[in-house]
Structures are given as C-alpha cells and as structure tokens.
Amino acid sequence: MKNVSVIGGKKNLTFKNQLIIECYEPIPCNPCEFLCTQKVIQVGSPITNLPVTENENCSGCGVCVAGCPGQAIFLLQDSGVGSTLKVSFPWELFPLPIKGSTVLVVDSEGKQLGEGSVVKINKPRTYNETAVITVEVSRKLAPLVRGIDRGENNLGG
C-alpha cells in the first residue's frame, strides 16, 4: 500500500524496481525472504511478521513474484524513459498469453483497466510451474495492475 501511494504522487518511480506485496495477514510464511538474493524482502522473527521491502536494492529478477505461495508479490519496473511501466505478476492459469499480444489488464478486483502488451513470459524450471508474466502499461494504470483478464478473446489475441 505504501509503495502504491509513493508511485501515485510522482511521474517516475522512486526506484527502478519496486515490489508491491499484498500480504496483510499474519500468516506464518517466509519463503519470500529467502528467495531474494539481494535481501530486499525482510520478514524476520516471528515468522508471522508482514514482509518489509527495501526497494533500492531490488534487481527486478522476479524470483519472489514466482515463489510467493500466496501469489501476492507484484513487480513494477521503470526504465526512466517512455510513457510506460512494466508490471510483472504470477500466473498459474491456462492458456498462457502470447508474447507480443495486446491484453486487457485488470486490477486487484478483476476489473478491466485498459490495454497492455505482453513483453515477457518467464517460466524456468526453478519457478516450479508458475509463470511470471510482464506487461507494458501506461504509467497511470501500472501501479494498479495485478493481472490480465481471462476472457476467451483476450488471451493469445
């Protein structure tokens, strides 16, 4: 939440890579802390702590996005130029969208926000069947994007 408000008020992101973690319940869970090689995410002890992020060190690798068991981590990336941002989110549904296609992006309630284009689909073996999809969306919409619409004509269109 804190991250979103920071982005909302400025034209560029404060940092090149910014994590949005929608983890608001004290569940005993901490894989995110250990997945991050840059020590960006801290949970600490007790294990029910909510994750805290230090975005300036984030390399934008996306490992935490794929590894969070709750699919609650999203990554915003800003190249500093152009009118778009990149948003990466976990995806465990079929079919996978096609790279380069235009898709409808949705917010956390599944509401359609607008169009975006799929720039990357990352699904290495280490992600254990979770794909990380990156879409390019306008700066205005990007902080709200949490996924893409599943509509029949949307995927792979």
């Binding site: 319940e25 894989p31 294990i47 949705v106 599944g110 619409d149 599943r150």
Partner: protein, 383 residues
C-alpha cells in the same frame, strides 16, 4: 487371518507418512495402511504451493511433498497396506482390517497411531440429492487425482480456504466458477486466496446462501438468496444461477470413529473442529498405546499434520525403547518448535490454547476414572 506388529498406522496422509518415516528410521516393525491405492492422502490433490517456513518445505506443492514422503517411506522397512480399510478398533486393541488383497485381517499392534483425517461437512437444502452436488474434497479428487472435470459451470458454497482454493483449481482446470457464496458476512479464508480469486473476476458473495438446486435428473441451476445475520433467507432476494455443479465447501469434521470405538475419551472442542479425542503434546490419547495425529485430532493444515505425525512417531519409538529419552526429547523439541511456529500469531492462537487445554484434560482422564482398562477392572471387581 491374524497378524501382529509393533506399530500400526491408520491412514497414509501427511501425518501418517511422517510418523512412518520416524518409526522406519529406528527399524520398527511397522504397518502403514490406507484405504486408497496410493498413499499421500489429501496431499495428492494439493496442487498449490504451501505457506510456511522456508526451512520446512514452504513454497512446495502438496503433490511434490507427497512424492518425497512416499519415496522416503519406500526406502525404509515399512510394510504398506494399500486399499485397506479399518472396520473396527475394538476395546481390546485389535484392529479389524479389510485388507485389499487378502480379506479381513485382525491385527494386534503394540502401538496404534490414528491418522484418519477428516470428513467433509454437508448441509441440506431443497433438491440437495441431485447428481452434480458434491463436496469440495470429492470434486478435488475427481479433478486433480483422476483428471475428470465434474462440471463446466460451478457454484462454490463456502468461502473458507478450501472453497477459495478449490474454486481457483477449478479455473486452472478450465471450468468456469459462476460465484462463490458465503453465508457469513465475511470471508473466512486467507486474504491472499481471496485476492487470487478476485483478480480472476469471480465474484465472492457474502451473506448469501443456497436455497435450492434446480433440475430434474441433474443440476441445471441453483437459487441463491441473501441472508440476515442469523442466516435466515431474506425474502425477495432470490437469484437464479445457471450452473451444472454445486460444490459444498462448508467445513470438515475430524474422523474419530476408530478412536471412539477403542474407548478414547472424546471431548467437544469447537475451535479444533468439533468432537475430538483428548491427546497431549506428544499426541498420546488417554489410552497409553493409542496416538492420534493430523486432521482427526484438529482441523488444521498438512504442514501441521506432518509435524504432529513426526512427534507421534518419535514418542512411540521412545515408548518402545527404540530411542533413548534424550534423543527422543531433542527430536521432539525440534518438531514442537516448528509446530509452535506454524501456530504462531493471532490466527494460530486459538488452536494453541485449545491444544493446551486438551493436553491438560488428557492427563486428567489418563489418571482418573475414564481409563478403560482401569474402568473394566473396577467393573470386574464389582461383579
């Protein structure tokens, strides 16, 4: 046919398998039985990644954990009886097993670990016997284990973790979830599961219950209605949904029949899922030779069940002098620490208090009048 064993484990789910691993490692003569053809229990259907501590298989999918446990058990000297149902556990400690390949076997074991899991709850509504209405566990078995999709348009009743997870798995399998309804005024499942569902556009309707199923030979639709705080339907709020499957995810009840027939003391502990056998922190019931682990002694998660199984396995090994006191204590403490971690925080606090209360009553019943052998002795003296 009669058989003897040092230890019998009833149920090959996460709890039973973990107990078997501990016992196999100390070379115990141990039989693990399960009514399915394949061990793994509910883990075989859990295709989602588990929460938990990074050190203890968090982030792994249930099916992968089942495979790993099964592999470990197969490397140890443990006899596995698949397709075996325990029909009775009599008060002399004999297990009547309908063993898949050889009919009825009466098995006498020095120690018995009950890991039978839980039963799905259901509730009646108009036309609730129509084909196409099923429990979430049944649906999950068909879908994830046997790869049969029972329907295309599904109404999920219940927005607890099971309802939310199974609804998501239905989407993964290619079905459409028309809605998830919940009679309470809030969603009891984890927030992350709720968000996962909402992002896909599936509506979750709170304060809503099912009134009736529609259809002649099978489900063709459902009527839902808003309910007030006491779950009474509000007239005029009925809505009709076109669905071909109604899935009930309205909670689980511990499967306690065997512990009950053996004579274990059963108490009502609503925070843990209803009527459950008393047991202490070592998972021992008030009957010294009987241990109970997993969902049949409190409705929790697979990761908790695994630690409980481990603790019971170590306790049994210790009680049979297969492990010395000090080693057993150390091993138990490791597992108990993990268990404490899994039940930490406000969400786990209720379970923790209930378990502590149970542990106290176990000591009470063990020392006092409800000890069955002592009770019988009293009876025979009296006669």
């Amino acid at each position: 046919m009669g058989r003897n064993a040092e230890v019998a484990i009833i149920g090959g789910g996460p709890a039973g398998l973990s107990a078997a691993v501990e016992l196999g490692e100390v070379q115990s003569n141990c039989i693990l039985m399960d009514d399915h053809s394949q061990v793994g229990g509910q883990l075989n259907k859990q295709i989602h990644k588990f929460f938990g501590s990074e050190k203890h298989s968090a982030g792994q999918r249930g099916i992968d954990i089942a495979k790993k446990l099964e592999e470990r058990v197969s490397l140890l000297n443990i006899e596995i009886w698949p397709e075996s149902t325990v029909l009775d556990f009599d008060n002399e400690g004999c297990l009547w097993v309908n063993k898949g390949d050889s009919g009825i076997v009466d098995l006498m074991a020095d120690r018995v670990i009950i890991a039978t899991g839980a039963n799905e709850n259901t509730f009646p509504f108009q036309n609730w016997t129509l084909p196409g209405i099923m429990g979430a566990g049944a649906l999950q078995t068909m879908m994830n284990l046997y790869r049969v999709l029972p329907g295309r348009r599904v109404l999920m009743v219940g927005a607890g973790n099971v309802g939310l997870i199974v609804a998501y798995q239905l989407l993964q399998a290619g079905a459409e979830v028309i809605a998830i309804i919940e009679s309470a005024n809030k969603i009891s499942g984890y927030d992350v599961h709720r968000r996962k569902i909402l992002r896909t556009g599936v509506p979750i309707l709170t304060s809503t219950s099912i009134v009736s199923a529609l259809g002649e030979k099978e489900v063709e639709g459902a009527v839902i209605s808003s309910v007030d705080d006491e779950f009474r339907p509000l007239p005029g709020t009925e809505r009709q949904l076109a669905v071909d499957t109604i899935c009930l995810a309205v909670g689980l009840s511990p499967l306690i029949d065997l512990a009950w027939s053996r004579g274990c003391k059963i108490v009502n502990e609503p925070l843990l899922g209803g009527w459950i056998p008393v047991h202490d922190a070592d998972q021992q019931t008030n009957i010294d030779s009987v241990y109970i682990v997993g969902d049949c002694c409190s409705i929790e998660e697979a990761s908790v069940a695994m630690e409980e199984g481990r603790i019971a396995g170590i306790s049994v090994a210790e009680s049979m002098n297969l492990l010395d006191y000090k080693t057993a204590m150390e091993k138990k403490n490791v597992a108990k620490k993990v268990l404490h971690e899994l039940r930490s925080g406000p969400l786990g606090a209720t379970v923790r208090t209930a378990k502590e209360r149970l542990s106290k009553s176990t000591t009470f019943y063990r020392q006092n009048f409800f000890h069955p052998t002592r009770y019988e002795k009293c009876l025979s003296n009296w006669r």
